[in-house]
């Protein structure tokens, strides 16, 4: 007889656990305003990335088209994947000395793992991480970027 009551009790406790589970899902079903889906391309205007979001490496320029990069190559050394290449050139300064300055700061976005080591390595804070994340493109060649803008110069007062 005891086993019979256990059998009945088992059925009811089983059904009860199932109903509690259904209560949880029903709670979310009937509160659709709590939905968490973000409709991505539509919400582009309101989508704000965090300041520290690591989307790509950028080199900020000021209004006079000047940057802070000295072309020292520390970021190139720090990069684990070889996604940064520094090409420098020699120029004659006004005093008549030969000086090596940066020609092109080449950044291969396709090889980058966004580890932030280059930004940490930079002694003059010339590069930083940008917030742009929509990098998809039809053409692979667009992933190779030159970070210093054409005709840009190094800012005054940056230590060589």
């Amino acid at each position: 007889m005891k086993s019979f009551f256990n059998y009945i009790a088992e059925i009811f406790s089983g059904i009860w656990t199932l109903l509690t589970g259904m209560k949880i899902t029903a709670k979310y079903f009937f509160t659709p305003w709590r939905n968490v889906t973000q409709q991505y391309p539509e919400n582009r205007d309101t989508l704000v990335m965090y300041d520290r979001f690591r989307g790509e490496v950028i080199m900020p320029h000021n209004e006079n088209n000047e940057h802070k990069c000295t072309g020292c190559g520390l970021c190139e050394n720090a990069c684990p994947n070889g996604s940064i290449e520094i090409i420098s050139k020699s120029i004659m300064t006004e005093e008549g000395k030969k000086k090596r300055i940066i020609d092109q700061h080449i950044y291969h976005l396709g090889m980058c793992t966004f580890c932030n080591l280059c930004v940490r390595a930079c002694p003059s804070d010339a590069i930083k991480m940008g917030q742009k994340f929509e990098h998809a493109h039809w053409d692979r060649s667009t992933f190779t970027k030159v970070l210093n803008q054409p005709g840009s110069k190094i800012m005054e007062g940056i230590k060589e």
Binding site: S13, G14, T17, L18, T20, G21, K23, I24, T25, Y28, V36, Y50, R52, F53, R54, L74, A78, P80, T113, F114, C115, N116, L117, R120, M129
Partner: protein, 377 residues
């Protein structure tokens, strides 16, 4: 007629042939490219042979060409769900080798991140296991709540999955001004969510029938196979690195090492659920007491380890994660070996899944919390 039936029952004359089924490399429940060559008789599993190597990425070999800060960023890619623990293990190993004392603030931040990462990992495990057992809604609830942790990560260190937050000597950034507030808000919210998870699955009669008494791993076997983490603790093997070899801020805090006794799928499940509560307790002890100070010590531009062998273990979300570095004094390591918990845990599967049904094999795999890049490295 009766004689024939009698004969058929007592002899082996009609016997269903065993057949081989490849579960994986592409299969919904292997969570990656793991291949289980399974020998079945009808539905009963007779033998499981894990074949790995489908996403072997050669991380250990790659590290030999990289400097120490660069190695840290590669370890994100092994057990991507315990990325921060992996980073921390390498950092601690390098710091110990150089005998650098990191500031207290770093220790606290690292420990909080460890536990947040553990929560995120256990949540993904929770919801993915639910999906393996057929409760698809659980999957979305888990991901929904994990998103909050990932947002906290993103705000502080700019990445969601491959954090690369620890660097030798400290952490990469100081914590975001909102960090403490957000973590506290998350914990308050999550304390309400966890009982909901229990109601949805843990208490569910179908779920209990699917997991209780299934796939029992004894304590002896757990020790013999080197099973660590929640899987080992569910079998009664006290193996919490946080308790036995404390690192970072773990010596300063009080927490309980959750233990199970049965070692079946349900114990493994329950233990991880309990661990989530414990992780929240740990975070709450630390979050208000983060000491002021630097977030990193200044290290040399090129880090060179002294000649010798160094080992550091941490408790990742899956078990004991070890980093073994052999250095010959150069800026690159001579040899690096990662001891990944998933590798040892996976190979018990043949031992414990034998004789159970194919659906139980899925349940066992789910409660083992396998991450395939962790196994394949």
């Amino acid at each position: 007629m009766a004689e024939i039936i009698e004969k058929l029952i007592t002899t082996d004359e009609i016997k269903t042939d065993e057949y081989l089924v490849n579960i994986g490399p592409q299969h919904p429940s292997t969570h990656g490219v793991l291949r289980l060559l399974t020998k079945l008789e009808g539905e009963i599993v007779h033998n499981v042979e894990p074949h790995i190597g489908y996403i072997h990425s050669g991380i250990e070999k790659m590290t030999e060409a990289l400097s120490y800060p660069q190695i840290v960023h590669l370890t994100d890619r092994m057990d991507y769900l315990s990325a921060h623990m992996n980073n921390e293990a390498v950092c601690l190993c390098v710091e110990n080798a150089l005998q650098v004392e990191v500031p207290e603030r770093v220790k606290y931040i690292r420990t909080i991140f460890d536990e947040l990462q553990r929560l995120a990992s256990h949540q993904l495990w929770w919801c993915a296991s639910g999906m393996d057992l057929g409760a698809l809604t659980a999957f979305f609830y888990g991901l929904r709540d994990r998103e909050d942790i990932l947002d906290i990560f993103e705000e502080t260190c700019g990445a969601r999955l491959t954090l690369n937050y620890s660097v030798p000597g400290g952490v990469m950034f100081d914590i975001h001004p909102n960090f403490q507030k957000n973590v506290k808000a998350f914990i308050t919210k999550f304390r309400k969510k966890l009982p909901e998870y229990d109601k949805l699955l843990t208490d569910n009669i179908i779920f209990q029938n699917r997991t209780k008494g299934i796939g029992i791993l004894s304590k002896e076997d757990a020790i013999a196979y080197g099973v660590t983490g929640p899987t080992g603790r569910a079998s009664g093997f006290s193996c919490d690195v946080r308790k036995h070899h404390p690192y970072s801020a773990y010596p300063y805090i009080k927490f309980e090492e959750k233990m199970g006794t049965e070692g079946d799928s349900f114990t493994r499940w329950k233990l991880r659920m309990d661990e989530m509560w414990e992780s929240m307790n740990i975070i709450e002890q630390l979050i208000d007491n983060i000491p002021e100070g630097d977030f990193a010590v200044k290290m040399k531009g090129v880090i060179k380890l002294p000649e010798g062998e160094f080992y550091q273990r941490v408790e990742s979300a899956r078990g004991e994660f070890g980093v073994y570095i052999v250095s010959d004094g150069k800026k690159n390591p001579y040899r690096v070996k990662f001891r990944s918990p998933g590798f040892s845990n996976l190979f018990t599967i043949n031992h414990i899944a034998k004789g159970w049904k194919i659906a139980d094999l899925v349940a066992i795999m789910a409660t083992f919390d396998l991450v395939i890049p962790d196994i394949d490295r």
